[in-house]
Amino acid sequence: MSNWKDKVIKLIFLSAASTSVLVVALIFLFLGNEAIPFARDPGIGELWQSRWSPVSFVKESFGIIPLITGSLLVTLIAIVLAVPFGVGGAVYLSEIASKGEKEFLKPFIELLAGIPSVVIGFFGLIVLSPLIKQVFHLSSGLNAITGGILLALMAVPTIVSVSEDAIRAVPGYLTEASLALGATRLQTIWKVTVPAAISGISAAILLGIGRVIGETMTVMMVTGNAARITLSPFQSVRTMTATIAAEMGEVPFGSDHYRALFWVGIILLLFTFALVLLSHRIMKKYKSLP
């Protein structure tokens, strides 16, 4: 086979591999492209306000602060709930469960990762939200805590699988040394294994946060979608993702509202991009340990 043919083939594979770079660049480019005109008129300061009311007879207001706080509140609830289950589950699966038990449990976690978000949202709407309403004596079950619980469930598979990898990567001699010194199994887990895997576990949590903050359908269906600034988990909130999904379909093309929604998308993208970069950096660091 001639040399040039091999070079052409390599070039084909190289261009395929470059697609990912191209797509990432295009994502930033096209979000920016649709959003930038808003920065010129009415100006980017318009976004930094506390009222999101994009359709109004008097004066539209594109303040995205309530959307950001809405996303952060739901994410906070979800992560506070997901971390004990995710990390506890990972420790249990990798250090405590027998092989047979693990083979029984693992498919459930994988199954959970596969349930579509719209199905989780539907379940939340029909089953969980009436329950939350009853338990906490609320006027509506569509609020931040219902969303947070469901999102916690969706973050668990990510946290479990990444933390489990990190725990498995802890060198055997560390745990053996600890056991040999007379530490119990649990002391070894908490004082040696988990601290040694802590960077991987924190990367797992960051990835979980990224998954939660970008989740759309579930929050749109169960958080009630009222754009308000609140810290109460029992209030209805409107997240950035739900705002885009709910409003983009009906917005006139090229309007201020349309461009403001692209700004929401950019801010969301920057949030997740920062999380990915941070977790990537942490993972790299722990992988380079001996």
Binding site: F13, A17, I27, G114, F122, V156, E215, T216, I244, G249
Partner: protein
């Protein structure tokens, strides 16, 4: 004694945490299966919706979801597998390779609704495809790309270097080696990765919301430039937009069940295939 008790309590706590998650998963799936299966019948699967989804079936939504899966796979699988071949067989450690890897990691973290915005801006508006199967498939393809690449590369990594070295020693070129000594062994594993990628996008709603999904269509699409209905969006509409939500409850659960079955069977296929391959490799090594 006290310490031993404490130890047992903590172990039970972690066990309880794990089983709570398992219980929740089981509960959700049983709820959907239990309340969805009465709605499943031939009429439901083969008819068009009537009276805005309150009666009839979900044929166009099933058709739409399957056509989007086919379309996005046709785009993402060749691209993703070729990327994996480049990264594992050709790429050297260097600046460009790490840029590609960083892009893949970034892509995996992009929220689904942002993919929707991107698809709207690029495919629907800029390329003037309109809301169509083509625009939706391209958007979903971008979304599944990272999963396909990463798991295909895992499959390529399991092929021992000796297979490649033997081929090079006999004077084969790089491509001959890949074609005859790497791919035949790696393809099943790469396919597993591909199926996992399909599973990742099969139930997605947000990206198709802005690029393809239609509320209701009286007929099946004629070309890739037409809109389609899709199961996840149909479920969303039935669950939140329908004026008489309780009356369409059986329809909602039926749609949720069909969607769940499609997504889970795709994932199950990948898991079974993976198990089979692992066993084969275990045999090879022993």
């Amino acid at each position: 004694m006290n310490r031993r008790l404490q130890e047992a309590a903590l172990i039970w706590l972690m066990r309880a945490l794990t089983y709570t998650v398992v219980f929740a998963v089981g509960f959700i799936i049983l709820d959907i299966v239990w309340k969805g299966s009465p709605a499943l019948n031939w009429e439901f699967l083969s008819q068009f919706p009537r009276r805005s989804g309150a009666e009839g079936g979900i044929l166009p939504a099933i058709f739409g979801t399957l056509s989007l899966l086919l379309g996005s796979s046709l785009i993402a699988l060749p691209l993703g597998m070729a990327s994996a071949i480049y990264l594992n067989e050709y790429a050297r450690h260097g600046r460009f390779t790490s840029i590609i890897r960083m892009a893949i990691v970034t892509l995996a973290g992009v929220p689904s609704i942002v993919f929707g915005l991107f698809g709207l801006g690029l495919f629907v508006i800029f390329f003037k495809f309109g809301a169509s199967i083509l625009a939706g498939s391209l958007t979903l393809a971008c979304m599944m790309l990272p999963t396909v690449i990463v798991s295909s590369e895992e499959a390529l990594k399991t092929i021992p270097m000796s297979l490649r070295e033997g081929s090079f020693a006999l004077g084969a070129s790089k491509w001959q080696t890949i074609r005859t000594n790497v791919l035949p062994y790696a393809i099943p594993g790469m396919l597993t990765g591909a199926i996992l990628g399909v599973g990742r996008v099969a139930g997605e709603t947000a990206p198709i919301l802005l690029t393809v999904a239609a509320f209701y269509l009286p007929r099946l699409p004629k070309s890739v430039f037409d809109q389609v209905m899709a199961l996840p969006y149909h479920l969303y509409v039935l669950a939140t937009q329908h004026p008489d939500a309780t009356k369409v409850r059986p329809m909602q659960y039926g749609t949720a069940l069909v969607l769940l079955l499609i997504v889970l069977s795709v994932n199950l296929g990948a898991i079974l295939l993976r198990g089979k391959i692992r066993k084969r490799y275990a045999k090879l090594e022993s």
